[in-house]
Symmetry: C2
């Protein structure tokens, strides 16, 4: 059997290694357009920032070492330009020697990945304007910075690559500006969750120009830098720029060969990673997947799914029957000392579906508050009404964020009910967690909602509460906390004085209660509801509320600190 693999990074390299382990006699040829295979795609921004210092660390395997270990014919700087599916051959462009040749295959695996989205903007050819996809792109940016010592950089787009690059360039001492049309960074997060990242990035000196539309680029008058052209605004000067607008499945080859395409031009595959053509498989960022929560078609560019799919395609190329179970889109990003992670669907996505959902916010400590170093995290967990199926979660904080998102991702993959999160028996010791882990706490809250013990209201509902005295707005924090900032119209009665001062509250009116994190206000709601009040607890507390400022979703404060214990 002769297997030709197009693309030698995550999915392609995984597949080649697995095919060899399953079949010592297969002939395996990898064609990779760039000069490197099996490289650390997700590490590229960190090489630019100097966090990863050694070039060789980026390129986990050389074509030679990989070829030797897996007895594979690895040809870098070779681009497959055409598939002849009838004759089972591909046309290959040897970029080094600029010659073309044909290569036959029995099985063909496409792992072309995704390419940076390049909108039709002017000036994309400017020498100080970059994109970041390959090792070569990385070296080019690195080299440019070393040679020209730019003082400022503008990034078009604030997704994974944009945010990671912003941090790394900021650490190098550049003045960084991120410009994008969406009102918040990271579309994996909902706006109120992203607001904590906005605050952190601004604290680091990064300028965020959100809600601005890039129209093109041109050389600056002096010619040393560039001007980013903005809609209805003055151009923005920077010494260099990087396009981080997003990625698009790189499927020209598949399309020309007449393979069925899916969402966003991705390659359509079934659960066996088979394309519409016999003996042609596809994996990675270029393929359409099923979302494990929505069941809908999706294109998800992440390394985890690509690697898993590579292994599955290899199994099936070698006669097995392995299946891909779909993607959750679990992801995590480091933003300076913070971590933001998500899994499943966010609320922005859910609003476009028919699903009826509810949600809880909580701000637990990363580990026991009495053990040094505990820091709060903000967790948002979304579940389906009635069924209590977990739909998604987002967490922003410092340590322990990745752990909780992985626990929730595992719960989703396992079909665990949101109501069962309270029963998870997780490992506890003071340096690692609390006796009631944050995930258990989310489960307790959802259990309380089911049992009618907890009714909530949310950050985006505050403005639409009746502005007259038909309701009671109550802040149960201490007078000192209240004095440092509160929502207009909320009166202050500390939770521990509530029983004695209950007469101050006019009977028969619904009460909307807030505290810092949501715990004291919950206790207050429980007290009041038993005195006959219809109570609503502000989910997430003033800590969450204060990180948002009106419609612009601009963060004013960092994650809430302190007072969480109460």
């Amino acid at each position: 059997m002769k297997v030709v693999i197009v693309g030698g990074v995550a999915g392609g390299a995984s597949a080649a290694a697995r095919i060899r382990r399953l079949d010592e006699n297969a002939e395996i040829v990898i064609f990779e357009r760039s000069g490197f295979i099996s490289y650390a795609n997700c590490g590229l921004p960190y090489y630019i920032g100097g966090v990863i210092e050694d070039k060789e660390e980026l390129t986990l395997q050389t074509p030679e070492s990989f070829g030797l270990r897996f007895n594979t014919d690895v040809r870098v700087r070779h681009e497959v330009t055409k598939i002849d599916k009838e004759n089972k051959t591909v046309t290959v462009h040897d970029l080094e020697h600029d010659r073309y040749f044909e290569e036959s295959y029995d099985k063909l695996l496409l792992s072309p990945g995704a390419k940076p989205t390049l909108p039709p903007l002017s000036g994309l050819e400017l020498p100080m304007l970059f994109k970041l996809r390959t090792v070569e792109d990385t070296f080019a940016i690195h080299e440019y910075i070393k040679m020209h010592r730019p003082k400022s950089v503008v990034l078009a787009g604030g997704g994974f690559i944009g945010v990671e690059l912003a941090e790394n360039l900021c650490e190098l001492g550049l003045k960084v500006t991120i410009v994008q049309r969406p009102k918040h960074l990271m579309n994996t997060l909902d706006p109120e969750m992203a607001s904590f990242l906005h605050a952190r990035m601004k604290k680091a000196g990064i300028s965020l120009m959100l809600g601005h539309t890039v129209e093109g680029f041109r050389s600056s008058k002096e010619g040393t830098g560039l001007e980013m052209l903005l809609k209805d605004e003055e151009p923005l000067y920077a010494d260099m720029g990087v396009l981080c607008i997003g990625v698009t499945p790189d499927t020209e080859l598949a399309k020309e060969a007449g393979l069925s395409l899916g969402l966003k031009g991705s390659i359509l595959v079934n659960e066996y990673m088979e394309t519409s053509e016999p003996d042609i498989y596809a994996v990675g960022d270029a393929v359409e997947v099923r979302h494990r929560v929505s069941g809908e078609r999706a294109v998800i560019s992440l390394a985890g799914p690509a690697n898993k799919q590579g292994r599955i395609a290899a199994d099936n190329i070698c006669g097995g029957r392995s299946t891909y179970k779909g993607s959750l889109g679990s992801s995590v990003i480091k933003v300076f000392d913070m971590t933001a992670a998500s899994t499943g669907l966010n609320e922005t996505a859910l609003k476009k579906t028919e699903l009826s959902y509810d949600k809880v916010y909580l701000t637990p400590q990363s580990h026991a508050g009495y053990y040094p170093g505990a820091r709060p995290m903000v967790m948002k967990l979304i579940f389906e009404r009635e069924s209590y199926r977990i739909l998604g979660a987002q967490i922003v904080g410092y340590e322990g964020v990745d752990k909780r998102i992985d626990v929730i991702a595992t719960a989703i993959c396992s079909g665990l009910s949101a109501l069962s999160l309270k029963d998870l028996d997780l490992a506890y010791a003071p340096p690692y967690s609390s006796a009631k882990d944050p995930v258990n706490m989310a489960g307790f809250m959802i259990d309380n909602i089911k049992n009618g013990v907890l009714k909530q209201f949310f950050w985006d509902e505050v403005a639409s509460l009746p502005q007259d005295d038909s309701i009671i707005r109550l802040d149960v924090r201490t007078p000192a906390e209240y004095g440092r900032g509160h929502i207009e119209g909320f009166i202050n009665i500390p939770v521990d004085e509530l029983r004695d001062r209950i007469a101050e509250l006019p009977k028969g009116k619904p009460v909307y209660v807030i505290c810092h994190s949501g715990i004291r206000s919950y206790i207050a709601c429980r007290i009041l509801s038993q005195y006959g009040f219809d109570c609503h607890n502000f989910s997430g507390g003033f800590g969450l509320y204060s990180s948002l400022s009106g419609d612009e979703m601009l963060a004013k404060e960092l994650l809430p600190c302190g007072a969480v214990k109460g």
Copy 2:
């Protein structure tokens, strides 16, 4: 409704707070023998070591603050000495004023916890010999060290408290010796996993006297210290000692009241946390639980279950019908810069059951190897043959250990098959994980076992391999690695030379292959098996093997570092 709660720490305090939230009108009385309630039980060793500096951090709530917030009558230094279940009263000993009185109840909740196991040894009354259960015990040890500046301490027992205390006393500069009969520390771990902790503790200068039997204590001749008396050995001198032998359910009260008892004298409860007597509930370290994996009865002294049970008992006291789902025994411990965690059943426990199990060892990196700070961990995952049910896991390493154990604990709680671990969509970015997370990797290995792609042999089988030339023993590491140490009788052919040198291996003989971590030997097995060899891969690699030295299970080396990528 009047609820009397015996014991105001984890389970009791949780229950009181929950009862109040559910029923503003309940009368709640807590009797706590010690002077503190709702204290940080798991933080006590860290106060002694000075990691937690402030006394107030240990005592999360004062009796007053708790009483105020939850409108609860909290009486510390009050010991309940008798239950009159017919008349529904308890007899209470006011320890402060040494007077007795009776208190009536409608519902009684027992949360007495567990007490340090005190075997019938001589000298337990010695003033420089301590135990560690309460805040008072903690202050006594702290005070003794401050006053007497002991230079050496001997700990009888190396479980959670013993190991945590050893670290903390070591950090204070004391010469620490742990003495115990079992051959390895931490009975939550199997011996080969504990061996990594042994090495780490010895590196810190802690003496481990494992397999030694303590027979008693006596004053040293000078009277300033103590001598630990050992079976068949010279006495061991130390300036002070602490008994950390283990804990026993503190159920004298329940027993005298005629409540049905279970394993180890624990209180028998059903899934509603109801005892054998109407209107009497029990929670926490004192009760018998169902083990979620074995289905057997168990006594598990951990804070997580206690807190959950407190909430469940409260629900049911208030007329609900909440159930406890059983315990997994998930636990984690910090040992200097290392972390050891476990969930479910270990092999030592499984050997006593009828269950037929298999296992995998792996030594993945905590996060992507090319991102700074990645460190290896050793993971052991045990699953049931045929059904592929996950039975348990143990992990020892540095960062990310707690995350993976919680993911596996969640998988067990959710009933996920070990075969599905490979499909978990976990969050990946270079600072947090690898594109194939360690848990995915374990899943891949188990999938390979199921499909016949991987056959293994284990550390404790090496000695019983035929010593003649009826088998081939093969080490596929580099000559340099081989030169630094290898198992007697294993010949060296590096994996990357194997295809060329295959003629050196006599056909028809089974091959036992080892490398450093198990990855290269797996690749070698795959090559060889396709040349007709019956191949067995050493699970865990030379890194695991070299941490064990014969029967004594004494660790020679730390966790394997480097060469894991290959």
